[in-house]
């Protein structure tokens, strides 16, 4: 299966996911992965909300775009929803391709678009108060690299 896209409501184990992905793609020349985790920078909790009718279909479409554009042999795309504590994994993307540059570009592209175009809203709790996170100009700058 080339595409493995999941929206997860509870904690996942990045090592187990990478073990399965490596096992499935031992013939690929290059595999690039990105793991995003909640930083321990003072926030107590992070919450990711999504909009069910659009979020997972949008992720699948993004995955297919990556597979086609970089001729991937496989793409893993996992994204948490719900509440997370510092150190908890939020997102894991892995791309397997014949050559290194394809795998790097696909993982980078997938992350830029997950950050800026996927249907997630993030808020964090600091000192007992919840705050919604606004998108950063930086996120859009990431997108602009691909047009």
């Amino acid at each position: 299966m080339a595409q493995d896209v999941r929206l997860l409501e509870s904690r996942f184990v990045p090592t187990d996911e990478m073990a399965a992905f490596y096992a499935a793609h031992s013939a690929s020349g290059g595999i690039v992965s990105f793991l995003g985790q909640m930083r321990g920078d003072g926030a107590e909790l992070l919450e990711l909300r999504h909009f069910a009718p659009l979020t997972l279909p949008g992720m699948r479409e993004l995955a297919q775009t990556c597979i086609t554009r970089w001729q991937l042999s496989g793409l893993l795309m996992l994204h948490r929803t719900g509440q997370m504590a510092p150190g908890e994994p939020i997102v894991l993307v892995a791309a397997a391709a014949p050559h290194r540059r394809q795998a790097f570009a696909a993982a980078d592209y997938a992350m830029d678009h997950l950050k800026s175009e996927s249907w997630f809203w993030k808020r964090e709790r600091r000192a007992g108060q919840w705050h919604w996170i606004e998108p950063r100009a930086d996120d859009y700058a990431g997108l602009a690299r691909w047009v």
């Binding site: 990711l48 009718p53 249907w119 809203w121 606004e134």
Partner: protein
């Protein structure tokens, strides 16, 4: 029967809840029934709408029927 408004992200805070049941009718009439600050927030130019789970390209001419769900989607901040 009612229609339902769904508020994502920070719009939930403005609305004081993740969703609200409203009387069906033209969107203008529905918005006019809400608190002015909420109506203004929902009409922000970066807020998109999905009617029954489908993104709407044009804002004009929307009429909510009984059982319809209209979601308001502010700019995302995922990943």
């Amino acid at each position: 029967m009612t229609a339902r408004l769904v508020f994502l992200g920070r719009l939930e805070d403005v609305a004081g809840g993740a969703e609200r049941d409203v009387t069906p009718g033209p969107l203008e009439a529905v918005l006019a029934s809400l608190a002015p600050d909420l109506a203004v927030a929902l009409l922000g130019e970066r807020v998109r709408m999905a009617l029954n789970g489908v993104l709407i390209a044009e804002r004009g001419g929307i009429v909510l029927r009984a059982g319809d769900e209209l979601a308001f989607l502010p700019p995302v901040s995922g990943g």
